[in-house]
C-alpha cells in the first residue's frame, strides 16, 4: 500500500515536471544560442530545465521545514517548488512580471523565495555553496536549529568554492546538507571527461565531509538517504554530503537540442524516468489524478502569468542601493 509520503513525493515530482514542461513550451526561441534563433517568447533568456532530475529536490525537501534554508543553482525550479514556493509566482517571475517572486528582476536563473527559506538560485556555478555555508554559520551563531540544504551540480565540484565551502563547513561543524545533483553533463561536456580522481563523494570525504551516494532517480531512495544524513546533521555530526546520480533529460538550456549526446544513452535515461519509477508504487488512479492536478495547476499559473502586469520601468532603479542608486543623466 502506498503511504501518504509516497504520494507526497510523487506529487512534488509531478508538479516540477509540469512546471518544467510548461516553461519549456513558453521559452521557444528564448535565446539565440545552440543554433536556435531568437523569437518572441514569454520566457526570455537562458532557461535551464531540471526535467528528469525531479527525484532529488523532492526526496530532499520533504525533510525540510519552511524555516530551513536552501540554496540552488541555475537549474533551480525544482528546488524552489519543492521548498514550497508558489508555482504561480514562479511562473510570473519566468514571464518577467511584477507579481513574480523577484518582481521580475531575477528570472529563472535567480529565482528566490525568502518567505519559504529559498535563498536564491544562482547564475554562477558553485557560487551558492559559500552562501549556504554563510547561512549555516549564521544559524550556528544564533543557536538556531535550522538546516541548510545546498544544491549544486556535478560541474561545481571542479570549481574552487566547492573545496572552500566544504572545508569551511567541516571546520565550523555547520548544519549543511550538501547535495550534488549529478546529471552527468557540464553544459555540453560530459563531466566524467573533465573530472579526475574518484569524483564528488571521494572529494567530499577527503575534505572531511562524510556522506553517501544514491540513485537520484529513485525518489524513495533519495528520501531515505537524505533522512539518514539529516539525522546525523541534527545530532551534531557536522555537514553531510549526498551524491545523487541522475540525468538531464533536456539540453543545457531549453533551446539546446543536445544532439551531441549518444542516442542510446538518452534512450536508457528516458527509460529510467524518476516519475515512472515512483509510479511503480502507486495506484494508477492516484497517478492519473496527481498528473491531472499538476497539469491544471500549471495551466492556471501560465494563465495568471500571461495576465500579470509588467514591472513599471522605474522599478529598474529600486533595490539597487540606498546610497547612490543610478539614473540617466
Amino acid at each position: 500500500m502506498p503511504t501518504e509520503r509516497d504520494v507526497a513525493l510523487y506529487r512534488t515530482m509531478a508538479r516540477i515536471r509540469a512546471f518544467e514542461n510548461a516553461a519549456e513550451e513558453a521559452s521557444r526561441g528564448s535565446v539565440a544560442a545552440f543554433g536556435a534563433s531568437l523569437s518572441r517568447s514569454n520566457v526570455r533568456g537562458p532557461l535551464h530545465l531540471s526535467t528528469g532530475q525531479e527525484a532529488v529536490p523532492a526526496g530532499v525537501c520533504i525533510h525540510l521545514e519552511k524555516t530551513d534554508f536552501l540554496t540552488s543553482t541555475h537549474r533551480g525550479h525544482g528546488h524552489t517548488l519543492a521548498k514550497g514556493a508558489s508555482m504561480e509566482r514562479m511562473m510570473c517571475e519566468l514571464f518577467g512580471r511584477a507579481s513574480g517572486t523577484n518582481r521580475g528582476k531575477g528570472g529563472s536563473m535567480h529565482i528566490a523565495d525568502f518567505s519559504v527559506g529559498m535563498l536564491g538560485a544562482n547564475g554562477v556555478v558553485a557560487d551558492g555553496m559559500p552562501i549556504a555555508v554563510g547561512a549555516a554559520h549564521a544559524v550556528k551563531i544564533r543557536g538556531e536549529k535550522r538546516i541548510v540544504a545546498c544544491f549544486f551540480g556535478d560541474g561545481a565540484i571542479n570549481r574552487g568554492p566547492f573545496l572552500e565551502a566544504l572545508n569551511w563547513a567541516a571546520v565550523h561543524r555547520l548544519r549543511v546538507l550538501f547535495v550534488c545533483e549529478d546529471n552527468r553533463w557540464s553544459a555540453t561536456t560530459p563531466t566524467d571527461a573533465m573530472t579526475a580522481g574518484e569524483g564528488a563523494l571521494a572529494r567530499a570525504r577527503a575534505i572531511g565531509v562524510p556522506g553517501e551516494a544514491v540513485d537520484g532517480n529513485d525518489v524513495f531512495a533519495v528520501d531515505g538517504a537524505a533522512g539518514e544524513l539529516l539525522a546525523k546533521i541534527r545530532k551534531g555530526d557536522g555537514p553531510q554530503f549526498l551524491h545523487a546520480i541522475t540525468y538531464r533529460f533536456k539540453g543545457h538550456v531549453s533551446v539546446d537540442a543536445a544532439a551531441y549526446r549518444d542516442k542510446r544513452e538518452v534512450a536508457r535515461a528516458l527509460e529510467n524516468d524518476p516519475l515512472k519509477i515512483a509510479e511503480g508504487r502507486l495506484a494508477s488512479a492516484t497517478v492519473k489524478r496527481i498528473l491531472e492536478e499538476a497539469q491544471a495547476e500549471v495551466a492556471r499559473a501560465v494563465a495568471a502569468a500571461e495576465a500579470a502586469p509588467w514591472p513599471a520601468p522605474g522599478e529598474a532603479y529600486e533595490d539597487v542601493q540606498d546610497a547612490g542608486s543610478g539614473r540617466w543623466r
Binding site: N102, L119, P130
Partner: protein, 312 residues
C-alpha cells in the same frame, strides 16, 4: 576628543557596533590576533571567537559566506587583508554581494562591510600595493569609501556599518599609524570635506594623496581649494561642481593608475557640467616595483601634484 591612530580609530568604531548589535560579526583571516594591521586588536578577546571569526585562506568563501550570513540576517564585516587578495573574491563581491538585493527583488539585503586595505605599502611590490577603487565604483550596488584621517576612519566606518548595503571600505596601508583627534562626529556617506578653501584651482583627491595634496596646496603659487572626496560612490557632486564653478580649474589626483581611474569620471563630469578646465594626475600604467626607486616611480607625491597644478 582623543588622540588616536587611523588603525585604532577603525577598531573603536567596530567595537562600538559589536557592542551595540549582536548581529554584527567579523569574518576573515587572522582577525583573532587583531589582524595584520591591528585594526581588530582585542576584539576577539572582548566579543569571542564565535563573533570575531578566524577563517581559512578562502577569500571567495569569506565573501560568499558573508553574503549568506547577511541573507540570513547578520551584518558581517569582512577582512580581505589587502585589496589585491579581494580579487580572489571578485566574483562574490560583484556577482553576489552587489546583486543580491536587486536580483531577488528586495527579498534580501547584504549589509556587509568589506575592508579592502589599499595602496602602496613600503616595498610590497606588484601584488600588495594596488589601488583598485575604480573597479568597485563601477559596480551598481556597491558603496565605496576611502577615508584619509583617523576621524574619518572612525566616523565613516560607523556610517558604513549602518549603511545596509555592501560597502567596499578601503583603508590606506600607509596611514595605519597616522595620529589625529577623533570625536563622536557622525559620518555621512557621499559627503566630501573641503579641507582648504581656495580661489584659483580645485584639487579633488581621497585616501593617502589627501595629505600630499594639502602639502602641495600650501606650496603652490596659486590659491588652491582641496577637497577630500572620502566616498567614491556615491560621490559628492554638489561640493565638487560648486567648487569647480568658482575656481574654473580642476585637478583630480589619485594614487591609482591614471588610465581608467575614478579621476576620469570626476574630470569628465566637471567638464560636462561646468566647462571648467580639467586635469588628472594618477600613477603611470605600470605595476608597482619592489625596489624603492621603482616604487617611487608609482608614487603620487606633493612635488608631482605641484607640477600638475602649474600645468593647469
Amino acid at each position: 576628543v582623543a588622540l588616536t591612530t587611523y588603525a585604532a580609530a577603525s577598531c573603536a568604531a567596530l567595537r562600538r557596533e559589536l557592542a551595540r548589535d549582536p548581529n554584527v560579526v567579523v569574518v576573515g583571516e587572522d582577525v583573532g590576533r587583531g589582524g595584520v594591521f591591528q585594526q581588530y586588536k582585542g576584539l576577539q578577546q572582548e566579543f569571542g571567537a564565535a563573533r570575531v571569526i578566524d577563517t581559512p585562506i578562502s577569500e571567495a568563501t569569506i565573501v560568499g559566506a558573508a553574503v549568506g550570513m547577511a541573507l540570513a540576517g547578520l551584518r558581517p564585516v569582512v577582512e580581505m587583508r589587502v585589496v589585491d587578495f579581494a580579487l580572489c573574491a571578485i566574483d562574490e563581491i560583484v556577482n553576489q554581494a552587489a546583486k543580491a538585493r536587486y536580483m531577488f527583488g528586495g527579498q534580501g539585503r547584504v549589509p556587509m562591510v568589506a575592508r579592502l586595505p589599499t595602496g602602496l605599502w613600503s616595498g610590497s611590490a606588484a601584488q600588495h600595493s594596488q589601488s583598485l577603487e575604480a573597479w568597485f565604483a563601477h559596480i551598481p550596488g556597491l558603496v565605496v569609501v576611502a577615508p584619509a584621517t583617523p576621524q574619518d576612519n572612525y566616523s565613516l566606518l560607523n556610517a558604513a556599518l549602518e549603511c545596509g548595503d555592501p560597502v567596499i571600505y578601503m583603508e590606506h596601508k600607509e596611514l595605519w599609524g597616522l595620529e589625529g583627534e577623533v570625536t563622536e562626529e557622525k559620518g555621512e556617506l557621499g559627503r566630501a570635506r573641503v579641507l582648504r578653501e581656495g580661489r584659483d584651482a580645485t584639487l579633488v583627491t581621497w585616501s593617502r594623496t589627501v595629505h600630499a595634496a594639502l602639502e602641495a596646496a600650501q606650496k603652490a603659487p596659486m590659491s588652491v581649494e582641496v577637497i577630500d572626496l572620502r566616498t567614491l560612490w556615491p560621490w559628492d557632486r554638489e561640493t565638487v561642481l560648486s567648487s569647480a564653478r568658482k575656481t574654473r580649474n580642476l585637478l583630480v589626483v589619485h594614487e591609482a593608475v591614471q588610465v581608467g581611474g575614478f579621476g576620469a569620471e570626476i574630470a569628465a563630469t566637471v567638464a560636462e557640467e561646468t566647462g571648467a578646465k580639467v586635469k588628472r594626475l594618477g600613477a603611470p600604467r605600470v605595476p608597482v616595483g619592489y625596489s624603492t626607486p621603482l616604487e617611487d616611480e608609482a608614487r603620487v607625491t606633493a612635488e608631482r601634484i605641484l607640477l600638475a597644478l602649474e600645468k593647469l
